[in-house]
Symmetry: C2
Subunit: 252 residues, 2 copies
DNA sequence: CTTGCGGTTGACGTAACGTCAAGCCGTACC
DNA sequence: GGTACGGCTTGACGTTACGTCAACCGCAAG
């Protein structure tokens, strides 16, 4: 049976001798014989095994997983499906990351009156870029840019009063919640109507029912938002969301 | 000036004490003082610096790059733009990888007469999935699936003769090349016409000029394809590509 | 006998910490 | 006064898949 030396194998497959020795060390591919001063020799079976290893490695699988596959301990199709899922997750993560980075660059190059400062006032300054990215995903670039324009067009004094206005709305809501008013009661819906009008002003356009509900979902689903609201009164995020959903369903 | 202990900082920022010590070790964030038995104390400046570090880390930047930024040695916007490019490259890499993995799964679950075996006959078996993925990117899912159907519909004998047919075409071309025929000469174009007809048969549809040129580009641009053709005669890939481009320009 | 070729075995480095293990300081308790 | 304990410290190793030296070894040619 023909055998091949290390150098021959490297020429045939493109891997380095160091890699071959590494594969030997971790037990994934051992030479068929080691004669004449430690020189490795690989046979046909080893070459075929190496081809399979390299194929799976090109797919991005880890060596320990590859070891299980070529040893027959793990069905290849199963491993690949799991790997495909992981790749998808990683792609989504990178997508979100790229959005956030892009938003951060825009903030760095833009001026101080960027949208997120008003939309997401009170949040950690460092997270604003993340929320701008989130907003662009949820409502689209056009909506965010329109809001930017609208806020920029407001008189200075009014713009600076935005956080206070939110604060007022939240306190009114908290009081009603304290009083035991249901979220769909007329009193709460009146405050929510004010909230809706204020959001419409900031967005530069009146949100659709879907968009408004999406905002409501953001308030409860995002930990930072939920924490901000719950700092005013416990459960306020959920309460506000319920009120907003009711408003979207009944009045939009 | 107020200072904070390790535990307080971990509560405020969510990082572990180990991380803080790591940041100290690599010199990216040093405590303002280390008194009373080595206990670390961080001041306001350090907290702000840490916030910035964590923000940049959320964006996926590496610590050595972050160090340059917070030390003012590297403009943040520049670093982020470069980072955004790297993210894009990584996303594309993952996209290609996911395509290849998906193609491999299809091959594992499909039967033995999959398209790539005929399209890419003679290539390393392990690379066929990559080429199926490449083909789906270049010509779309519909085209590859149509080809699959067409090849499957061929009589068994004919299907098995596909590699031989390619081989014949390649040898005829090599002979003409040897004889010094220009790629746009009538003799070469006649062979290319046969090639085109054969490809059309395999694809189940006649390729457009663009698709045929794309195939020609694949022959020369891909190392494995180029090597396959150049094994028949040196420079055959380039020669065939020139002939195909001429054919696409003149006859399609 | 020396040089050179072709290969070998360690051993360290990579990124960003997690995870022990061992030890030290101050305080409360006995 | 000893001691147990909490809070924190400094090493040091492990993680992934090798790259990159450094030191060495067997064999053949000059």
């Amino acid at each position: 049976m023909r055998t091949w030396t290390t150098t021959e194998v490297t020429r045939l497959t493109g891997v380095t001798s160091r890699t071959l020795r590494h594969y030997d060390a971790i037990g994934i591919l051992e030479p068929v014989a080691t004669g004449h001063g430690g020189l490795r020799r690989y046979g046909e079976a080893e070459l075929l095994r190496l081809q399979r290893i390299l194929l799976l490695k090109r797919l991005g699988l880890r060596l320990d997983v590859i070891a299980e596959i070529v040893d027959g301990a793990l069905p290849e199709a199963d491993a690949l499906k799991r790997h495909a899922e992981q790749l998808d997750e990683e792609r989504e993560r990178l997508d979100r990351l790229a959005d956030t980075v892009a938003a951060t660059i825009r903030q760095l190059e833009g001026d101080q009156t960027m949208t997120p400062e008003t939309w997401f006032d009170g949040l950690d300054a460092g997270k604003q870029a993340e929320y701008e990215a989130e907003a662009r995903r949820r409502w689209g670039d056009a909506a965010v840019d329109a809001s930017d324009t609208a806020v920029r067009a407001m008189p200075e004094a009014e713009r600076r009063a935005i956080p206070a206005k939110f604060d007022e709305l939240h306190r009114r809501l908290a009081a009603l919640k304290e009083a035991g008013e249901p979220a769909d009661s007329a009193a709460v819906q009146a405050v929510v109507a004010d909230h809706y009008a204020f959001i419409a002003k900031l967005w530069g356009t009146a949100p659709t029912a879907e968009a408004y509900s999406g905002l409501a979902a953001l308030y409860t689903d995002d930990p930072a938002f939920a924490a901000t609201y719950d700092a005013v009164a416990e459960g306020l995020a959920t309460y506000l969301r319920a009120g907003m959903d009711a408003y979207a369903a009944a009045s939009l």
